[in-house]
């Protein structure tokens, strides 16, 4: 077998570079950088950073084209003009690459469905925190995702319980004190995000 040490050296990507790309993809898909441990009851710890720019992710992926990861970029459909991809397709393809970075085998549809759902729910909860959704608006937006969670991630039953328990306090005629309910809803969003992200990292490392 022909071996060219120069080419091989260029193709090897440093483990820390690979780690950085993985984290950048996570950050882009989840909308939240992996941060310090915080208490959901102490919002001083909760930072809501702006997710990375898509162009930064595109550049990071492009930089991998000359590395050992090139075959995985190809399998994920990322050997193309990235800026021309519609957002949904771009997210789908970097999700696939993220799976290859965790395990070089084909990701199962079951795994992809779990990750898609976690990313959607994470995006919604972060949007609710950033935009200051009313509890009622959040409850309504969460409805279809709760149904999907029950089907796609039944192992997250205790999270489903937490969602159902808290959302049952929210309503047009809720007897709860509205300021307290709004405050607790924010705490819960942070708690749910923490649990979703922990699950994401448990699946992908």
């Amino acid at each position: 077998m022909w071996y060219n040490p120069d080419v091989a050296e260029r193709a090897i990507i440093k483990p820390d570079d690979e780690y950085v790309v993985s984290r950048l993809i996570d950050y882009y898909l989840l909308g939240w950088e992996r941060g310090p441990i915080f208490s959901p009851f102490d919002l001083r710890w909760v930072l809501l950073p702006t997710p990375p720019l898509r162009t930064d992710v595109e550049q990071a992926v492009t930089n991998l084209r000359q590395t050992r990861l090139a075959p995985f970029l190809e399998k994920a459909g990322l050997f193309t003009e990235l800026s021309a991809l519609p957002e949904d397709l771009f997210r789908e393809r970097i999700l696939r690459l993220r799976c290859y970075l965790a395990e070089p085998d084909e990701p199962s549809e079951e795994l992809l469905n779990k990750l898609r759902l976690i990313a959607s729910l994470s995006g919604l909860l972060l949007e609710a925190l950033r935009e200051g959704f009313s509890p009622l608006k959040l409850k309504s937006a969460l409805r279809p995702l709760r149904k999907s969670l029950a089907v796609i991630t039944p192992e997250l039953h205790t999270l489903l319980y937490s969602l159902a328990e808290h959302l049952s306090l929210i309503g047009e005629n809720s007897p709860e004190e509205s300021d307290a309910l709004e405050r607790e809803t924010r705490y819960r969003c942070v708690e749910w995000l923490g649990r979703l992200h922990a699950y994401w990292y448990a699946l992908l490392g």
Binding site: A164, E165, S168, L169, G171, N173, P175
Partner: protein, 88 residues
């Protein structure tokens, strides 16, 4: 704090939550069925994190069956069915 053995009624919010679960507005008869379920299972009720009494019951109606958490809260000295939820 003594757990309520009987509930005096329900909040409008509880009715709305039940409607959400059933997919249609419940009749008074269906709401009273929940009060009876509370009475039947009240000994199993526990204090939840909000300081309200909570118990799990199975509600059956026609072909449907729901595992419901009933939550009771006190309002103006009366125990009411405060809210209801189902974990999908």
């Amino acid at each position: 704090m003594n757990r309520p053995l009987k509930l005096h009624g329900w909040s409008e919010h509880a009715r709305e939550e039940f409607a959400d679960i059933l997919g249609q507005s419940p009749s008074d008869q269906q709401m009273r069925a929940l009060l009876r379920l509370w009475q039947k299972h009240s000994q199993e009720a526990f204090l939840n994190r909000h300081g309200r009494w909570q118990v799990k019951v199975v509600y059956k109606h026609k072909q449907q069956s729901h595992n419901l958490w009933l939550v009771a809260g006190e309002q103006n000295g009366n125990w009411l069915l405060w809210t209801i939820f189902e974990v999908a």
